[in-house]
């Protein structure tokens, strides 16, 4: 009974202190490689160009279902650039181009006839600065479902409550769903953005430094939320906070910049990608070790 209770009301637990930097407590055992059916993203020699400038060079990696994958590295190393290529956010930047094979469950994301809106329905994103719409809390969460055609109040009520519970926000706002979203604190707004994203029913939730604009307590709540969401979604998070990656993620990818021999500018590149415990205890590449131990970065 206790276990069921815990699974129903995860938000009732108090937030963790930051001193507890423990690896995962639950979830399937993380192995180095998993079967093909569990691969969500498959990157093959992926490169991102802004005009003629190569911002990210040849990335090869596989992202697995129901895991939290963290991208870490110094600023400018391309981790956000790679993340944004997963949901075709580069489409809005004139001159940006993604080359190579980027497959989502086997389907080429940048293939011909692929609709960016379809991609984004399945792959959601939470941004660094919380960006709720200037509408009510309810309307923010209901926005996605309404777009997909849900109309009846009864249906929407159910969806909104489920999403807000999933984002550990329901108890705090259930009595003021019609209040403006802009009146909430930063941490609450970010959880609202998460609720808004999961209300659409994606498989993947991308997170671009979701806690960098938040205070430590709000950060801890989001990290806890991520662990709960892992069972339902695949999460890829970009973070400049190494400890966060060590705390929360199953796998970690370390990026850095390299002097591009062709353009004399720094290009981002993937250095090492492995199970988190291995990256942080026994990294294979010297650059990774230097970054982890703080010798640079």
């Amino acid at each position: 009974m206790q276990l069921e209770e815990r699974m129903e009301e995860p938000h009732a637990r108090p937030p963790r202190g930051l001193s507890q930097v423990k690896p995962m407590e639950s979830g399937p055992p993380v192995v180095s490689s998993r079967p093909e059916s569990q691969v969500v993203f498959d990157l093959e020699n992926v490169e991102v160009f802004y005009g003629a400038f190569r911002a990210v060079s040849r990335v090869n990696m596989k992202i697995f279902k129901n895991e939290i994958t963290a991208f870490i590295g110094p600023s400018g190393c391309g981790k956000t650039t790679v993340l944004r290529s997963f949901n075709r956010m580069h489409d809005v930047t004139p001159g940006a181009r993604v080359a190579g094979g980027l497959r989502y469950r086997g389907a080429e994301i940048y293939g011909p006839n692929v609709s960016a809106t379809e991609v984004r329905r399945r792959i959601g994103m939470v941004f660094q600065k919380p960006n709720p719409f200037p509408k009510s809390i309810y309307d923010n969460v209901a926005f996605g479902p309404r777009m997909s055609g849900a109309k009846s109040k009864a249906d929407l009520d159910v969806i909104v409550e489920k999403a807000l519970r999933g984002a550990a926000l329901w108890d705090e706002v259930k009595d003021r769903l019609k209040a403006s979203a802009l009146g909430m604190s930063g941490g609450q707004q970010q959880r609202l953005c998460i609720a808004r994203t999961i209300a659409v029913g994606p498989e993947v939730v991308l997170m671009d430094e979701p806690c960098s604009a938040l205070d430590p307590i709000a950060t801890a709540r989001i990290e806890e939320l991520m662990r709960e969401l892992k069972s339902r979604f695949t999460i890829v998070i970009v973070t400049h906070n190494m400890q966060q990656a060590a705390r929360c993620s199953d796998r970690t990818a370390f990026f850095t910049t390299e002097l591009d021999s062709k353009s004399d500018r720094r290009t981002g590149t993937l250095v090492e990608y492995d199970v988190t415990t291995k990256i942080f205890s026994n990294p294979g590449d010297e650059r990774t070790e230097n970054y982890i131990t703080g010798r640079f970065g």
Partner: protein, 301 residues
């Protein structure tokens, strides 16, 4: 067996193609409407410019360059003739207006930005300047009629005064913008060398802002050259050459266009088209000159 089936289902790649839904159709329709509005803007512009070019050129080319210097026939029905007096009138009236409005406008902007940036007087002036730029040109015309024409009669100079009043807020506004762009360290360098404020403004600030001031003033001139209503009340409706700024009624291209547009005689209408082409050319050249100066600023930076 169930597990194998699940594995099978999971292996099939998802369909990421655009769904034929009302949503994508709606977005397409709205984008189409936006493109249509661009066409709606281009259409009248093309129509007007082509009409002016076509009908105006027919008249001007018929007697080139005579059209620009020939006399205006006093009998509307008579074909031929030209817009000479009107060309001279426009040049005189606009020229004198520029000589009045630009120095005063620049000086006023200098006060607003260099001396009293935040004080109440400046804020009031800026506010009233915006109000003044919204005064309908016919009100300006009546104003000039009351204070000038009633006392001194019709003259080109009255028109210049009216146009100067219309130009003043524009010159003040654009000059102030340009003064804001002059980096503060230039002024500080001048003060540090012992230069007085007025000297600094005259020798350092204004020269630095000059291309922008010229550009803004040229745009004000282009607008003033096309004004009609104030001139109706100040300049009168002469048809003869009148090179005197202060004496006697005069005419201008805009006034002639207005007068001839409602004439039932084709000859007069033709002259109106010719005058319109001349006016549009003058306006276009002045605006082009303004763009040249703007480009020069951009290049410097």
């Amino acid at each position: 067996m169930q597990l194998a089936q699940q594995e099978q289902a999971a292996v099939a790649p998802p369909d990421l193609s655009a769904k034929q839904s009302w949503r994508s159709v709606k977005s397409l329709i709205m984008t189409g409407l936006m493109v249509a509005s661009v066409a709606a803007v281009a259409l009248p512009l093309v129509a007007v410019v082509s009409a002016v070019l076509r009908r105006g050129l027919a008249v001007v080319a018929h007697d080139f360059p005579g059209f620009f210097v020939n006399e205006i026939p006093n009998i509307a029905r008579r074909p031929g003739g030209g817009m000479g007096p009107a060309v001279l009138g426009t040049l005189m009236v606009t020229g004198a207006a520029t000589l009045i409005a630009v120095p005063l406008g620049v000086l006023g902007a200098v006060y607003l930005h260099e001396y009293g940036v935040k004080n109440h007087f400046s804020r009031l002036v800026r506010f009233m300047s915006t109000v003044m730029s919204g005064v309908p040109s016919i009100v300006m015309g009546l104003f000039i009629y009351i204070v000038w024409t009633l006392h001194f009669g019709y003259s080109a100079f009255g028109g210049s005064l009216a146009l100067a009043c219309l130009m003043l807020p524009v010159v003040i506004g654009s000059t102030e913008q340009m003064l804001k762009l002059v980096p503060h360290h230039l002024r500080e360098a001048s003060y540090a060398l012992g230069s007085s404020k007025s000297r600094t403004i005259l020798t350092v600030v204004l020269p630095a802002a000059l291309p922008g001031i010229v550009s803004g003033s040229l745009l004000a001139v282009a607008r003033a050259a096309g004004e009609t209503a104030p001139l109706l009340f100040a300049v009168g409706a002469a048809n003869e050459y009148n090179p005197h700024l202060f004496e006697e009624a005069n005419t201008a291209l805009s006034v002639q266009i207005f007068g001839n547009a409602t004439s039932s005689f084709v000859a007069a209408q033709d002259r109106a088209w010719g005058a319109a082409l001349t006016l549009v050319l003058v306006t276009f050249l002045v605006t082009l000159a303004a763009r040249v100066f703007t480009a020069r600023i951009a290049r410097k930076r």
